[in-house]
């Protein structure tokens, strides 16, 4: 309560009244946001900029998944499909048409349309019967979709994916100023980083708005007790379907951002099982149903992934002579450890970082 009155009303309104509600969490979030804003100037280098951009994109992607998993309480395995539709939309439009703003706009709008349509059909078919069917049907559709994408190699480049050009402003060769700023050349990469930063910030605030609207409350009610919610008079099928459509559209936009950043798209970057596991893990570790969890979780995960995989290479080399261990710590087995971590965190740490911090703040 005290924090509510203390916070300036502008910030309160920007965050839709959903403050971090924990002093430690507030400090962590401010550090992350400031860090992401100054990242291109303070930690230069292609690799760290890449990590920072991926963190941003995953914040949008995971937050959109959290709307479904954390707020509505339904599991979808098609989130990568919608992510992929966004990325492929931009990729195909940019490689077929003249690369530029028009291609970007056409690709994005077609992708959003397709995602919305698919999500509506899947939702209406599966959620009508049982919410569990949704998980199974999304899995079936997503699997078929990813096979389709690798088969339509004429359009999608198959397993190799497609490389394409972005509008001039986002090309690495573009220079905004003649002179370097703070010793850094402001090129197209840095500009696209900031474009993504602004886009993600807007998407995130919008999702916060949705989650804290009356509509979002109904979703939470459905998560807690669908039967009662239906009894009060809310059509749960409708609400769940709308939630899945909204979530799909946000995932599509995250896919568009991914395409803008990488200027490449292939099945491994957006459609693979590994991306789905990443999303699940980040959602759980950050804290289901908190949205802020997406920020904390993405940072934790991306930093860990970037540096842990190096450690695995070292560990694998060191244990070369121990037959089974070497194959277990081999970098190819990254997914094994992710899976293990995932199971352990669902079991022992279901509230995630944000949930635990909030609990502590409430208790203390």
């Amino acid at each position: 309560m005290t924090e509510h009155t203390q916070a300036p009303s502008l910030i309160l309104r920007l965050l839709s009244g959903d403050l971090p509600r924990s002093r430690v969490l507030t400090i962590i979030l401010i550090t992350i946001v400031v860090g992401l804003i100054v990242a291109p100037f303070f930690i230069p280098g292609a690799r760290s900029l890449n990590t920072a951009a991926k963190i941003l994109i995953f914040i949008a992607l995971v937050a959109s998944y959290d709307l479904l998993l954390g707020y509505t309480g339904i599991v979808s395995f098609a989130h990568t499909m919608f992510f992929g539709i966004g990325a492929y939309g931009v990729a195909i439009a940019s490689s077929r048409m003249e690369a530029g703003w028009t291609a970007l706009a056409v690709g994005t709008s077609l992708a959003i349309l397709l995602s919305g349509l698919l999500a509506t059909v899947i939702g209406l078919f599966s959620l009508r019967v049982r919410a569990v069917f949704f998980a199974m049907i999304t899995l079936a559709v997503a699997t078929a979709f990813s096979t389709l994408m690798s088969q339509l190699s004429e359009w999608t480049g198959g397993e190799d994916g497609i490389t394409f050009k972005m509008p001039q402003v986002f090309q690495p060769s573009f220079r905004l100023f003649e002179e370097p700023v703070f010793g850094i050349v402001v090129n197209g990469r840095i500009l696209s980083y900031y474009a993504i930063l602004v886009a993600v910030a807007m998407l995130f605030l919008l999702m916060l708005r949705i989650a804290n609207s009356p509509f979002g409350r109904v979703l939470q009610a459905i998560r807690e007790n669908p039967f009662r919610t239906e009894a009060i008079g809310y059509r749960t099928v409708l609400y769940r379907t709308i939630a899945s459509v909204i979530s799909a559209m946000f995932a599509t936009l995250a896919g568009v951002l991914m395409a803008i950043w990488l200027r490449y798209n292939g099945p491994d970057t957006t459609l693979s099982l590994e991306v789905m596991v990443d999303i699940l893990l980040i959602t759980v570790i950050g804290g289901m149903g908190t949205l802020y969890g997406a920020i904390v979780g993405s940072v934790l995960f991306m930093v860990a992934q970037t540096y842990l995989q190096d450690i695995m290479v070292l560990a694998s080399k060191a244990s070369e002579h121990i037959p089974l261990l070497a194959s277990l710590v081999h970098p190819d087995r990254w997914l094994l450890w992710l899976g293990l971590l995932f199971v352990l965190s669902v079991y022992y740490f279901p509230q995630g970082v944000v949930g635990s911090l909030r609990d502590r703040a409430r208790g203390g």
């Binding site: 078919f125 019967v129 995932f342």
Partner: protein, 339 residues
Amino acid sequence: MSKPVTAPSASDIPRRPLDWLPVALPLIVAVASLPLIGNPWTWLTLTIAGLAMGMIIFTVSSGLMLVFGLMDVLNFGHGAFIALGAYVGLSVLMPLTPWVEATSVLLNSAVFALALCAGVVVAGMVGLVFDRLLIQPVYGNHLKQILMTTGGLIIVEQLIRAAWGAETVSFNLPASLRGSWLLGEAAVERYRIVALGIGSAIFLGLLLVLTRTRIGLMIRAGVENREMLEAMGHRTRHLFVGVFVVGAMLAGLGGVMWGLYLQNFTASIGAQINVLIFIVIIVGGLGSTTGCLIGALLVGLTTNYVGFAAPKIALFSNILLMLLILLWRPQGLYRVVDR
């Protein structure tokens, strides 16, 4: 004046009329596809292939169906047992290559049976561990169940990759199961007939156990109303573990058969067939053995027909099938569970 009161005999209790339409569905699909295929001999080959594939899918999905129906537990890791079955079967057949290649039917059958048994045993044991570690802790919570078992599938798949390698492996059928018989102009692969036989035996066995034994009675009662069964003093928890392990064993058995059917596969064989199993479960209706069989046969038949007649849409044929059935009967072909 009043008539003497007599105890109602069994024939007086109104019985639900047999719902025959779903049973006829595979037949209708088979007949309807004949003009699309054109050549009747090709059609025969495809039909037998479809039925064999359907029986294998039934074998692997029957356990999941019972577990889902009985305890409302949705195991996304069911594919892990199938993958394990396939790889364990491979490990049995590889060192026994002389037996596999021998021309004696006896040795061939022995090695085939050995592979099936090994698959059953290993899958059953892993099933027990799976239940203990991943399903019991989150019992009654759908969301966590899906997450935990998905994690379990990933872990098992990765362990398989670590143990057997990530490359595509290939199976050799025992010598006397190779090749095909000629039925008129239709070539019918021998192994498909064998798979059809094993699958039918399992279906009949399951049906017998479920309808003619006390344990089967309890399972069916649990599927229809678990609380009532518990109120009458039966421990459904023990029943559940039993059904879960048997389901895993059947998945292991089916895994060996599926591996031999595909001949070449990778560790993602489990995740791939998971999709088919889910479609079968949704099509068949929860907790219905017959529904599960019909669903599996429909999936097998459409996969083969569409794969031949219109390979372009083969990818979506099963999803299309599922959508059509759900439009017709939103609860699946047979509804046993009403939750």
